[in-house]
């Protein structure tokens, strides 16, 4: 059986920079910062007080009234809103009856309905469990976002949810590619969603991994990440299916790789073996040489360990070419959106290909001598990347790397 080529025909997002793709692309080009004081919950007793919140999110405006918002958590409605935009972009609204049976949903998730769950736990602890309304936990499960999308659209294709912390969204897109490639689905709604919540915010605080100011990837003075939230959804379909529908193609999903550090639960392997093997696996899967990569969207969390390790990994894989590839961390603008980040950065990669720019790493003013590659820092750079590699490295040593390309008839890797 031939591998089906898999293309991207729809994009949708809500994140700290924008609540739609057009505004998101503009914000990336302008180097806007989505990080600011947190308002979603009281941060008085936390060590840090800033984050990258989704702003002015009005799900009842972004989601058509026929879809009930009742029982949807913030995560569910963010994922649903991004899905609606991606489907509309792919000209799949109203959703065609004929496609329901072979359309799947694959999401990467993180905290799910934990923000709402926390309110439940507070009542539960206060009342000793007697008066707490357990129904508030109905949306706690991170899998519910995919369930809502699939149920509301009446889809009958494969459905699942990945939970690998910061690489969930990237893995979801990889798995979706596999499903289409082997014809287990014609169309897959794939992406990631992550809401901010107290538990996650507390967790990264006690790990001393949060910069009290905005994060500064690859900077000498970086002190940690900035937590963010987002939903990012792409519509993937087989090339022949997209052609039959006669719709514009935004890019091609060329390949991906997964690896594991097997080193430490939170610290990256300083030898950078896991990250390097993952990039190599992705290049091999895509059938391209390292020299063909035009832009690397870095994991770039701005923790001391990650940025130094990632720089070493890129040098290991790309050799002398490492110094010639522009690299940036868009987490400096969007915050680290954990379970959504891999999918959000896949969208950034597609936008950079489609709109001919390399987004900047803002707040990078004083480069760390250990991070001496071409980190694009002062404003977006005009460029025409054809092949983009996007890194996601997670707690648990779970690494996923995606490779996305400009769509050409022959296949960009063959040109």
């Amino acid at each position: 059986m031939h591998r089906e080529r898999v293309v991207i025909t729809g994009l949708g997002t809500v994140n700290a920079l924008a609540n739609n793709i057009v505004d998101f692309a503009r914000a990336l080009q302008c180097g806007h910062c989505g990080i600011g004081p947190l308002t979603l919950f009281d941060t008085t007793h936390f060590q840090t007080h800033i984050g990258a919140e989704v702003k002015n999110f009005r799900p009842h405006i972004l989601i058509p009234p026929r879809f009930s918002l009742k029982r949807m958590s913030r995560a569910d409605s963010m994922a649903f809103a991004a899905t609606m935009e991606a489907l509309s972009d792919a000209r799949l609204i109203p959703f065609p009856d004929s496609l329901r049976e072979n359309t799947g949903v694959v999401l990467g998730a993180g905290s799910g309905g934990k923000l709402e769950g926390e309110s439940f736990f507070r009542d539960y602890l206060k009342t000793g469990g007697r008066k707490a309304r357990f129904s508030m936990l109905a949306g706690l499960c991170p899998a519910s976002s995919a369930d809502h999308i699939s149920a509301h659209l009446g889809l009958m294709g494969p459905k699942t949810t990945f939970m690998t912390a910061c690489s969930s969204g990237a893995t979801a897109i990889g798995f979706a590619r596999d499903l289409i490639e082997r014809r287990a689905a014609d169309v897959v709604i794939a992406g990631g969603v992550e809401p901010l919540c107290r538990t996650t915010y507390a967790s990264f605080n006690v790990l001393q991994a949060v910069d009290p100011e905005y994060c500064k990837p690859f900077d000498r003075n970086r002190k940690g990440l900035s937590l963010g939230e987002a939903a990012a959804v792409v519509v993937l379909e087989s090339l022949h299916h997209a052609r039959e529908r006669g719709i514009p193609i935004h890019g091609e999903m060329l390949g991906y790789g997964i690896s594991c550090d097997a080193y430490h639960m939170t610290a990256p392997d300083s030898e950078a073996s896991g990250a390097a093997r993952c990039m190599e696996a992705a290049l091999a899967d895509a059938g391209i040489s390292a020299g063909a990569v035009d832009y690397i969207n870095a994991h770039g969390t701005a923790t001391y360990a990650n940025d130094a390790m990632e720089t070493r990994a890129v040098k290991k894989v790309f050799g002398p070419h490492a110094y010639r590839i522009p690299i940036s961390s868009t987490k400096s603008m969007t915050g680290h959106t954990l379970g959504a980040s891999g999918a959000l950065e896949a969208i950034v990669s597609v936008l950079s290909i489609r709109q001919h720019f390399i987004p900047p790493t803002i707040h990078l003013h004083d480069p760390d001598p250990e991070c001496d590659l071409d980190y694009v820092s002062s404003g977006a750079r005009e460029s025409m990347p054809a092949i983009v590699l996007s890194n996601s490295f997670a707690f648990g040593g779970n690494n996923t790397v995606l490779i996305l390309g400009r769509f050409t008839e022959k296949g960009i890797q063959n040109e």
Binding site: D178, C260, D285
Partner: protein, 414 residues
Amino acid sequence: MGKNLMSRRVAVTGIGLVTPLGVGKERFTEALFRGESALKEIAAFDTSSFASHLGAEIGHFLARDFISAKYLRRMDRLSQITVASSRLALEDAQIVVNTTNRDRIGIILGTAFGPTDLKIHCARILFTEGPMMINPILVPNSVMNAPAGHASIELGFRGVNTTIHHHAASAETSIVYAVMEIQRGAADIILTGGADIISEFFFEALVRFKAISPVNGGNESARPFDVHRNGPVAGEGCGIVCLESLEHARQRGAIPYCEIAGWGMSSSPAPPTDWPADAKGASLAMMRALQSSHCTTEDIDVIQAASNGGKNPDRIEADACLSLFGSETAPPLVSSIKGASGESFSSGGIRAAALALSLREGVVPPTLGLVDPIVPLPFVTGEARKADIKNGLLNAFSHGGTNVSIVMRKIEQG
């Protein structure tokens, strides 16, 4: 690479189990085929204020028998049972992880609820002592991918590693993904299956959601496919199967239990906490599984059912099986082990191991608790039955409408 995406055959070469029916393959097999029940009064915590009291708990399990002292203290219970099962599966498959093979060995794990004990503990600290009082050692364990991460560190394999979290289809979906990864050449060997635990808070939530027996009164018990069923009994455990490309297994002289011949996935529209209205999605998953394994309904000899004694799931699976297999002259034997081992949610690893053992031994375990079936299908009840079986179907149909069906096939010698 890639021209023959689905032609590479994937075999089951090892089994690792930490379950209420026993720790290790030998004890599990004995209990399973003897028709022993693991349903007992919960011992880990006091259930007197709850409407339910029964559970299937992991009995004698000493984590230090399986995990080095250095790492043991960093692990919560969910990670411990996962790492122990993973070690047992590798040993059963006679695989020694070393520097030459470690990058080609991985793990894909399913968990439906994750470390619920740890999560409620963190929530408690958050709202009583304050957010900065959470112990940083606990944080990495509270993520769903911690068990697979711990397994990779303790056992030293560095290949494909991911975690799937989608209700009671988590483990079966993980098995499917492991097959796909081996077929596309991303790994030679992948440990896969599922792990979930019972904790006090989780048990209380199941009771309050009316998700476990006795849902509408009556005697508390698990009665899969029975007219008088009144909900499942909560279980826990970890089941890991070692999947390997058949070629790789043969090269090193391993004797596989069986192979994964094909699979089907589907959804049925349903709210995340409710069941689909009909069996259409469940049937679709089974039909897709048959199609991808190039067989017909007549080829299936046994069904390792997902049914757990719940009102809706059992009805859906019974209807789906009846519609697909009901007109056969000799429909497949149907068996659910959840009357013996309870509903452990990500039970697919344990049940895949049970089906692999059935295929190797030619024995189908009984469905305990089933007396009065809701549909006329050849259920195995009372005691285990000897049968000549070649193809078995492993089903997972979960609330929220996520369906997975996997065909496991005996490998002919030669």
